[in-house]
């Protein structure tokens, strides 16, 4: 029970920076970081979650659940923004379409898993 709560908590902790990253991609016309840096930071985030949890298995599970929580939040934030602003810059409107959300989330997730695996080699199973 305590472990389940821990996993849930770590998933929520992971979902926040992941959501920031997805929203950075949504607002990419205004980004301060170049887009490639966001993908690099995604690898760093995958590494950092395993390092912070100190357990590879919980870390990789927190990554999956965190991505799902963040992506569902991104979906609704995107849909609400599209409703509120009506006409937004074309690039942003493209970024909130369902297919773009899935592509963004899955490519960032793959990068995070790469970070998880790097952490497995560097830190070990924990």
């Amino acid at each position: 029970m305590r472990q389940k709560l821990g996993i849930l908590l770590w998933s929520l902790i992971f979902s926040f920076p992941f959501l920031f990253m997805e929203l950075s991609i949504l607002l990419n016309p205004f980004s301060f970081f170049p887009t490639w840096l966001l993908y690099v930071l995604s690898i760093a985030l995958g590494f950092a979650i395993v390092e912070a949890v100190g357990d590879f298995k919980i870390g990789i599970f927190a990554t999956v659940t965190g991505v799902i929580i963040a992506t569902v939040a991104y979906f609704w934030i995107g849909k609400i923004m599209l409703q509120v602003f009506g006409s937004m810059p074309g690039l942003m409107a493209t970024n909130v379409t369902s297919s773009s959300i899935v592509l963004t989330a899955s490519s960032l997730y793959v990068m995070s898993v790469l970070g998880n695996i790097i952490a497995l080699f560097v830190i070990g199973l924990g």
Binding site: L27, S31, P34, A44, L45, A48, A52, V53, G54, G90
Partner: protein, 165 residues
């Protein structure tokens, strides 16, 4: 699964970097929407000359916003003109090399030429000075931020003022 602060430092650094980037983006997005919301476009008739083949209108297209936006341009405008209730046609105004005007500070100004021929010219000549010219259409505003160009379409509508005529 024992938590130590030392191990979470890297996670916190990455998270805060992402948060700062997002905050910058939201601020930039907000500044663009404020700029566009406060942009008031004004269209005025500066001069016109009639000859046998038609009427040439010189129109001043200008706009002012309350906030400064760096690197903002107007690339084109579409105007649907009417004099009284009579049609003066639909005119697509494009600038030289795709650029109509650049914002200087908070405002832009550009003098463009519109040519009326046929029944449009007849409508204009019979109505000028007696009926107001109304316009309806949009201007295309381009802004550059963070390495991307953004195209925004601003609808405009109103009565043309006749400057110096």
């Amino acid at each position: 699964m024992n938590l130590s602060f030392k191990r979470t430092v890297f996670f916190l650094i990455v998270s805060s970097a992402l948060f700062v980037n997002l905050a910058i983006q939201v601020a930039r997005f907000n500044s663009l929407t404020t700029f566009l919301r406060n942009l008031k476009v004004d269209v005025s008739l500066v001069n016109f000359s009639a000859n046998a083949s038609g009427v040439d209108l010189e129109i001043n297209l200008s706009g002012t916003s309350k906030v400064i936006q760096k690197q903002a341009f107007v690339s084109s405008a579409q105007l649907f003109l009417k004099i009284g209730s009579k049609d003066l046609g639909y005119h697509r105004i494009v600038g030289v090399e795709g650029l109509l005007a650049q914002f200087k500070g908070k405002s832009f100004s550009s003098v463009v030429n519109v040519r009326l021929t046929g029944y449009e010219a007849n409508n204009f000549e019979s109505g000028i000075g007696r009926m107001p010219i109304t316009y309806d259409g949009y201007v295309v505003v381009h802004t550059f931020s963070g390495g991307h160009g953004l195209r925004s379409v601003m609808p405009i509508k109103g009565t043309m003022s006749e400057e110096g005529m």
